[in-house]
Every structure is written in structure tokens, then in C-alpha cells.
Amino acid sequence: MHIHQLRIQNFRNIREASLDLTPGVQLLIGRNAQGKTSLLEAVYLLATATSHRTHNNRELITQGETTAFIEAEFDRDGSRHRLSTGFDSKERRFRIDEKPLKRVSDLYGILKAVFFSPEDLEFLSGGPIARRRTMDLGLCQQNPPLVRVLLDYRKALKQRNTLLRQADASITTRNLVKAWNPELIRLGTQILSQRADYTLKLVEKASDYYASITGSRENLAGVYRSSMTHLAWRKGGEIPDEKDLKRYFEIALEETVEKDFLYRQTHAGPHRDDIVLEVCGKSAERYASQGQRRSIVLALKLAERDLLTSPNDPPILLVDDVTHEMDMRRCDRFLENICSSGQVFLTFTETESHRGLIKNATEWHVQDGMISRRSG
């Protein structure tokens, strides 16, 4: 999968850009805050309708403008497609091959992308919310129907929590609250089993990468910890089938209902799950050093890339500013790995010495929102 042509209008500080791209490595070179990250963000927005930096459309539109537009012409399975999004401060619309997408959930899986960014460290510092978000973004690209399930689950949860917030705990209210359980269970079970399965696969691959980054001196392991009845799985652990999970979920909802009324929110369910990573048996969230953290998130991202790669069709890699903290040897290995992958967008500052490690790249100069091809 690769993008031939990328067009951007009024996106952050990029007023107008039109890039003819090659299938391989794209080097984006420029000083900080010139638009390198924005370009990567634009591609990721097209792939997933999300930005790692904001939920607010307004922030994505060039100051003084009302609408922004991003379009990519890309190859997939030998045929060419055109995906675009136009948005103002209120709504975002997507089109594939000129046809409007009815729902944002239909977007996933069309253009697959993995974003490597300095913000990835939030996987360890940002709490369970950041971890679930990372898992779900990777998982949904791999398994697009799950987007709908996640959105429906969120809605059922909101409905139930709204009741809990208004509620006296009378019998009628209890029945009303309980009425949302079957849907929560039906949807939540799918999320739980798929996310747990994905997490275990991801951590297994990531631990291979982590071993190779650290020269096998350290090992990385991970646990998927469910919020209900203290269920947790690690590598090799068997995730119960959906029938058993449904039963566990039902019991958990019954067990926590008093707490739900007390705190006015739903306590059991995949919206409270967590992924716990361990380095050499110790919690990475608490004890890992800055260097270990960088290696962990890098390993996770490489694993995400692998899980998202269907035969001969790697996702597009968006690599923002993650190499300059690495030592030369480590960086060389990392670049070698990702640059053999397919289409890769890499950002570099002018002065970075690591740039020399990359051969056969198309170079782009990024300055003040203007993007131009560099020759030579």
C-alpha cells in the first residue's frame, strides 16, 4: 500500500501542498514547527479519523480559514483509489473514490497507517486510557468491524451512566439500569476477547523486538487485566470463549451494581481494562528508565506494524522525531527495519547526523508550511 499523490489544503500551517510520492522512503527535512509533524498527522487523520494531538477540528484548520482538505491517491491490491476528507470546525466528511462514506466507522481498513511519535511514551505515562486507545487504534485498523462495536458499546455505556447519574435507587430505576446490561454484555464481550487476544499477540511480537533492541539483556512481558472478577491473561494464557466471558461479565455487573449507584458510573467492562507491561518482572509504568521506555514503545509500534501487515502489504509508516534520541548503532538497526517495510515518512531536522544512514530516499524540504522536493 502506498500513496502516489498527497494534497493538503489549510491544514494547520500547511496552506497548500501537492506531493508526488514514490513507494519508498520519504524524508521530511526541516527545522522544528515548520509542518513536518502536521504532514504526518494529515495522513494519519485520513487513515483513522483521529489525531494524536487534538480532538478539536478547529485546531487542525489553518488560522483565518474555515475549511481544510486532505486527499490521497493510493494503490491497494493493484488498483488505484482516492480517499479524501474535508472538514470545518463542526464536521468531518470522508469520500472514497468520490463516494461519501456514510459513517466514519467505514473508514477503517481503507488506508492503513502506523504512527511513531514522541507522544507514544504516553502508553506508559498516560494511564489505562492511553493504553486502551493505542490498542483500539491498532486493533480497529486490523479489524474494521470492531469500530462499530466500540462506538455502540460507548453509547450503551453512556445511556446506562446517564441513568445512574439521575437515579434514586428505586426498583424501577434498578430495572431500567439493568435493561442496558444485555447490550453492554453482547458488545463488551466482543471488545474484551478481541482486545485481549490482540494485546497478547502484540506483546509477544514486541518482546522479540525488545530483546533485539537490548541485545537480549532484558525481557518484556505483558498482562491484559480485565476490570471484572479480577481476570487477567498473559502470554500463553487462554482467553475464555465468548460464552464464558458473557457469563463473567453478567456476574461482574451484578456484583458491582451497588458501587455503580454509589459512584454513579459503570465499573465492570472493557472500558476499565488495562494493559500492564513488565521489564524483567517489574512494572514498566513505575520502574522503567527513560531509555527503557523509549525502547518499549518502539518495540510496541514495530509489533503493531507487523500485526497490521497483510501478506506483501505493509501499512504506511509515519515516523516522527523518534530517532534523534537513539545511539548510532540502535538507530541504524531501527532504520534498516522500517525502511525495508514499504512507504515510510520520516522526519528529520537539518542537522541530524542519523540522516546519512538512509539511502535511496526521496527528500522533501519543509519550511513554514511549504513543502518542496529537494534535488540531490
Binding site: Q159, N175, P182
Partner: protein
């Protein structure tokens, strides 16, 4: 809408048409210009038909379906099976099920589904009326035919939990299982609907 300043009648017409479901600004404008060219006689007939709606069409006092006579024809038909009530969200759903021709029981139109986010609780939809009907009539089976949406499922679940403890000896069945998840009754084809109706399961 800019550009219509000297045609306020058309502007108003477009605004009203645009407020109808499924009619965007473009179709509203096209429709308005179409109407303008119709003969006065046809326009008057259309206007009269529309303005007769508020007086003529009402909700059946028993089932809540739209009707011009009260009770409606279905409720007052002795040939129908008065031991069965099919619970639906909207009057249009009655129409869809009637088209299958295989259901001979009665209906109960809720007029919506539970949705705390929209402030809709049991009091906002015709649940009390349904429970009253169950106590007085000779009902043996309730078919819950709300849409297979999150809210439709929750409403069905709530109804089942409310009816069961009343101990009225009524079988509660759910029929949406054969329908596509998230689909709507109104837009489901007759054949699928017949199948779903025949294969309904105890809740």
C-alpha cells in the same frame, strides 16, 4: 438562504420542505421550483390534503397506532387474534408487519424507545398503557418487535423484566434476532420480516 430576497414565498417553501426528513437543501429547492409550476387546482388539492391531517388522523386510544377512527380497525376487528400483542416502536413498523400478511394478532405502538441521553424514560413512551392492556385483556403472548438497535434491545429487555414478575401467565417473545443488527424494522424486506416473525424466541 441568500439570493431569494425578492421571492419570500419560495424561500419559505424551501425552508419548510428542507425541514422534512431526507430532504436536503438541494432537493428542497428543486421541489419548490417544481411546485411553483403546478396548476393552482393541484396546489390547492395538495394544500387541503395536508391541512386535513391534524383533525382527521389521531392515535388509537388502545394501541397507539395512527387511525382515522377510534379504536382503529385492527383493534376493533373481531377476526384478529386478541391473545397476541406485537410491541413496535413506530406506526410505520405496523405497516411493515401488516405487509407480510402472516401476523393476525394486535399491536402496541410505543412511540419511541428508552433513551436516558434524550430524556426518554418509561413515562415518555406508552409502557403504562401496555401494562394496563395486559392486566385487562385475554393476552397470552407478547411479541417484542422493537428495532435491534441498542435502545431497541434495552427497551425490550426492560419490558420483559417488567412483565415477567406480574405473573400474568404471558409468554414474552423477541423477534428481532433474525434481523441484521442495527437494522430497522421499517426498512426490512417482507420476506426477512416473515421469517423473523415465525422464528421468534422466548425472551
Amino acid at each position: 438562504m441568500k439570493g431569494f430576497q425578492n421571492l419570500p414565498t419560495i424561500e419559505n417553501l424551501i425552508t419548510e420542505l428542507n425541514r422534512l426528513p431526507g430532504i436536503g437543501p438541494k432537493s428542497a429547492t428543486a421541489l419548490a421550483y417544481h411546485l411553483v409550476h403546478l396548476p393552482a387546482e393541484r396546489l390547492n388539492r395538495l394544500a387541503e390534503t395536508i391541512s386535513a391531517i391534524p383533525g382527521k388522523i389521531l392515535n388509537c386510544s388502545i394501541c397507539g397506532n395512527l387511525t382515522e377512527e377510534n379504536p382503529c380497525r385492527i383493534c376493533s376487528d373481531p377476526g384478529r387474534d386478541h391473545t397476541m400483542i406485537c410491541v413496535v416502536e413506530k406506526p410505520m413498523d405496523v405497516l411493515s408487519i401488516e405487509r407480510t400478511g402472516i401476523y393476525r394478532g394486535l399491536y402496541h405502538v410505543l412511540g419511541g424507545v428508552l433513551s436516558p441521553l434524550d430524556g426518554i424514560g418509561p413515562a415518555q413512551i406508552r409502557i403504562r398503557e401496555l401494562l394496563e392492556r395486559l392486566k385487562s385483556a385475554e393476552v397470552k403472548e407478547i411479541i417484542l418487535a422493537t428495532n435491534p438497535s441498542i435502545e431497541g434491545e434495552a427497551t425490550a429487555s426492560y419490558l420483559c423484566d417488567t412483565i415477567a414478575p406480574l405473573d400474568l401467565g404471558i409468554t414474552v417473545t423477541r423477534f428481532s434476532r433474525g434481523l441484521p443488527v442495527g437494522g430497522e424494522l421499517t426498512y426490512t424486506d417482507t420476506e426477512t420480516l416473515s421469517l423473523a416473525l415465525q422464528s421468534r424466541k422466548p425472551f
